[in-house]
Symmetry: C2
Subunit: 352 residues, 2 copies
DNA sequence: CTGAAAGCGCTAACAT
DNA sequence: ATGTTAGCGCTTTCAG
């Protein structure tokens, strides 16, 4: 009993069992040509019988692929999300999309935290690459546009994907169409009869902020409504900044009947400010948010929101990187994935 | 340009730079004795200068540790949690505790999903072990008590931790004290003046269910209150089962003024049933839940709950396994980690 | 179409 | 205290 079976089944055992050379087993395992069907089958039988699974370490070391995809996330944000214990949607959706897609291809996704503030970004990323030698790297915001990381990956010739990035350059960009999302959200409000619609933008450093604002304006103009600068405020995605912005919007004599906010937190802030002023959602004020993290489903009422395709972006990234590692030539992108508008009680009737 | 720097810096480069043998570099990297301080320093300088990081694959292959901890989670539950997008607390807290602790030791935690229903459990686990050759495995419920998995790990001589398990046997068990938690939750209600306290238990197959029930009863008896079978219902942790149980409890002539439910979902169900019967929380009915997943913070009012130390359990598991891999002899356990009682609006006043 | 030899980067076991 | 030799399990040449 329980003698540590120090020695697992290796390619050698399979070769012996099937009566072929190591090489042939390797060819079969990697789906290479130049093996007769009869032999291939014999090998597969031996593999099944012995329960053989190739060692990742040995494969990697012998100069082939590592079958590893490395996903780099922002350290502080991620840990803060975990610490708060309110459900870390970004991480979950990354895993959901990226890990499952990787597994489909026999790959594994390793999730790693990188501190982007530190001067050691380069060292941290280098160390992870050296230790793991992944076949591809997935960058998430804010790393997606970090010039140090991008340059490092490019210099190393490492295939990588930049999720949520509007910048061009090395690596394949994967994102949603924020302008279209801003338009869709605004059109939803227009369709409900709103004519004075306030907008809380994100910081201008983020391209997606300006894209969303652009979509908002396009929708208004498309409906023949003149733009009013008094209806546009700027926040920084946080709850507090949302409070300030919403107060500025709702303090106006001719206050908006709806607010579109560029993040869930700012939308929740707007809802709170509205309540404080005696405005009930959705009658007194309609609110639409961006992101659709779990929290908006649990607010009262739940918020209508633009859903970011995080899982789909991670899945696409993994798929592209793995196919690229397999020798496929993949298109440069950018890959624009569809968003969704989840209509909930903050804009519509009293369902839920 | 970006010529793929095919060849990264290896132990050989460091040895050359420092003017020593490979072995000496290896010794320094692994903090082994028998190296003069002067030499050690010279090697460390070379390492720093070249930015050398050992290849995990080579280390693993040469027969030493893999520096990998494998965390096995239930496939269906995990994916369902991701799909619902309500914040997958278990996974997040696992990562929070396990990944960070692993990183402290220079380890990586690989998160893998295993389908416990399938007849292939054994094959799935074997394959993961064969491919990764981790230094330790963390089992989470329901895998923690899966006899096939436990037997396999034991036969392989693989160190492993069973999180949330009350069973004895191979592997180190890490859990909280559910009886004490049941007692604490009940005593909280007693302290608030409640005398008729309903209890919704989990399925009896789970030891933790009976432990929690035991704690509930101890607390009542300790307060000199006779047990009343009519106050105990059984659910299966789901919302629907919670509805049935709560309805049975609240339909009684002498209905309870408080309900302790063995899961968040059942507690939310109790809250809903109460509302439907015109009972407001906490005045009409006080509710306490177990688990403390994100969702209970967002309900109205937020639910008072027993918080499971998931992150701490994962952290402890990683720490024990890694120290074990390092040659330390670790105590058999079980390791009992402290829970917490988060008091919120469903039992107490009107804060928030 | 198949096999034999060499070597990936490291550590274990054995020198010295 | 340090260096040398072998070999982990696989894939890559290169031969047949």
């Amino acid at each position: 009993m329980a003698r540590a079976s120090r020695q697992a089944v290796t390619i050698r055992h399979v070769a012996a069992e099937a009566g072929v050379s190591l090489q042939t087993v390797s060819r079969v395992m990697n789906n290479e040509p130049n093996v007769r069907d009869a032999v291939r089958e014999r090998v597969n039988e031996a593999v099944a019988k012995l329960g053989y699974v190739p060692s990742l370490a040995a494969r990697r070391l012998s100069g082939s692929r590592s079958y590893l995809i490395l996903a780099l996330n922002d350290r502080d944000r991620t840990i803060e999300g975990w610490r708060l214990g309110q459900g870390n949607d970004w991480v979950d959706q990354m895993l959901y999309g990226g890990m499952l897609k990787s597994a489909e291809h026999g790959y594994r996704m390793i999730f790693e935290l990188i501190d982007s503030h530190a001067a050691h970004v380069e060292r941290e990323v280098s160390a992870a690459l050296a230790a793991l030698r992944p076949d591809g790297v997935i960058l998430t915001p804010p790393h997606s546009d970090n010039p140090v990381i991008v340059a490092l990956l490019e210099a190393r010739g490492m295939p990588f994907a930049r999720i949520g990035s509007y910048e061009s350059g090395a690596g394949v960009a994967i994102r949603m169409d924020d302008a279209a999302a801003g338009r869709a959200a605004t059109e939803h409000l227009l369709a409900l009869g709103h004519r004075r619609i306030g907008f809380i933008a994100g910081p201008a450093e983020y391209t997606l902020s300006t894209e969303r604002a652009e979509g908002y304006r396009q929708a208004l103009l498309g409906a023949g409504i003149a733009l009013d600068p008094a209806l546009e405020e700027i926040g920084d995605f946080t709850f507090d900044s949302g409070v300030r912005a919403a107060e500025a919007l709702l303090a106006q004599a001719e206050r908006p009947t709806a607010i579109l906010a560029s993040s869930d937190q700012m939308a929740l802030a707007a809802a709170q400010v509205a309540r404080a002023r005696g405005l009930a959602l959705p009658e007194g004020l309609a609110v639409v948010s961006f992101d659709d993290t779990p929290v908006v489903r649990f607010s009262m009422p739940p918020l209508t929101a633009i859903t970011q395709p995080i899982a789909a972006m991670a899945s696409t990234a993994a798929d592209l990187l793995i196919r690229s590692a397999g020798g496929d030539v993949i298109e440069a992108g950018p890959y624009i994935l569809p968003f969704a508008l989840a209509v909930r009680g903050s804009t519509q009737g009293n369902d839920h």
